[in-house]
Symmetry: C2
Subunit: 242 residues, 2 copies
DNA sequence: CGATAAATTGAACTCTATCAATAGGTGTGG
DNA sequence: CCACACCTATTGATAGAGTTCAATTTATCG
């Protein structure tokens, strides 16, 4: 099967074979990074572009008093810092959630990708979907209470992983602590625990030992108002979000 | 004085004169749109790119039950829908806050801009700053209480307008209702009113009749942890954010 | 000047935070 | 294999922040 980076970019639209060959090259130099390890820190100006191939990572900012907000999960195929060509310094941190394989793409290779129209468009697409996802998260934090907020998050991760064929029967690895979930949702640890138990008690899902089992995706989507349109998936893969 | 669009793009870095001449052309066909009027609706696939030249607008999403979340303010020089080349449909609405002048840039003209390296970089920069701003808003909603949240928002708008020389003595037009502010902050109207009065009582600012007077920007920044780094302003204009 | 929208106020209620204590689980050293 | 140490999850009580709803006052605008 084709690598996950290619698969992700093809969620936007099919790529020519020559482009796909290039992507196979790009993806070769993976490096394993342990769980809970920083990939990029605020203030860094990375030389290369980083790309998550396996495992998961997250973007966050830490305030003076130590409180932290997580505002994105990086799943396989996601870029860490495609913006490195434009912005002089990272304005946030990226850390692994689980042991991950991360590829470093040298600048010349990115430029080569940008020179290919289909790839260039796919890169733009990935950036714009990241932005659309942030908007949806803002709606989530601004308008929904703890339980619905959580449900929406899980629907999103489920949809994104499903689109890449990375779920099996609605279940997938989610190697996250409740503290990290709380930092994602802008909630206290205690309240996060309570909300999770509610969802568990209603038999909608089960999160245990880093494994999330979705029991009733339909109800989760309805209750949280999840509409995958913001992920801007196209073509035949659209079904995978069901 | 040079037009506000050029000024905004030069916040990233200086542009060649030829590019500036092009921008002067681009900006000519302004059209006035009344306050509280939709510029773009969710589902639209605009043919041209829209650009706010005067006045203010906002991005929002409305949920089934009518609740709404605002997740960006468009100030003079800001793009509405630069993504129109990539994403097939808008996933949110854009409406004017006040009577505004909006320019429609035809696709060929955008393509011409993209062909000029300095302009292409500036357009990327504008997109990435929008994304960084969204991240900061997420921190704001996730981690700060009503008063600090509001303070942070006002610091941001003040910094963005100051960078364009659009404030006078810390005051500027902010033609917004408390309901809209509440929808921005994920708070109820009543609570928004209370928070606003707190800030007013402490003599930090005064918002009345669509005019915001910042009384003590230092305290506002300190209390809300505002750090303009995420706006990624460069060069000589950096001072303007003070 | 009247009509309408916006801002303000107050009371009761709900959600979420805080804090502290308890329970589980896992890995390590003895 | 047990015991300790440490991290994560869980629980409960209390306090606080924020919501809801309804009523009232204050703009604003034709």
């Amino acid at each position: 099967m084709v690598n996950v980076f290619t698969r992700k970019l093809e969620l936007f639209g099919p790529l020519p074979d020559t482009d796909k060959h290039l992507l196979e090259e790009v993806v070769k130099n993976g490096r394993v990074i342990e769980a809970e390890t920083s990939i990029i820190r605020q203030g860094d100006s990375p030389r290369d572009v980083h790309l998550v191939m396996t495992g998961m990572a997250y973007r966050s900012k830490t305030l003076q008093d130590g409180r932290r907000q997580i505002f994105a999960y990086l799943l396989p195929g996601d870029f860490c810092d495609l913006n490195v060509f434009i912005l002089s310094a990272m304005d946030h941190d990226i850390e692994t959630l689980s042991r991950s394989s991360v590829v470093k793409i040298p600048r010349p290779q990115i430029l080569e990708m940008m020179d290919r129209p289909a790839l260039a468009r796919a890169l733009w697409w990935a950036t714009l979907v990241d932005e659309a996802t942030l908007r949806e998260w803002l709606v989530n934090l601004g308008q929904r209470d703890a339980e619905h907020r959580l449900a929406h998050l899980f629907c999103e991760i489920h949809a994104r992983l499903s689109a890449l064929d990375l779920t099996s029967d609605g279940a997938f690895e989610l190697p996250i602590t409740q503290v990290q979930l709380a930092e994602t949702m802008g909630l206290s640890r205690a309240h996060m625990n309570h909300a999770l138990q509610q969802l568990r008690a209603r038999n909608l899902l089960d999160l245990k030992g880093g494994l999330l089992a979705i029991r009733d995706i339909g109800t989760l989507r309805t209750m949280s108002g999840f509409n995958p349109a913001y992920l801007h998936l196209r073509g035949g893969k659209r079904d995978a979000t069901r």
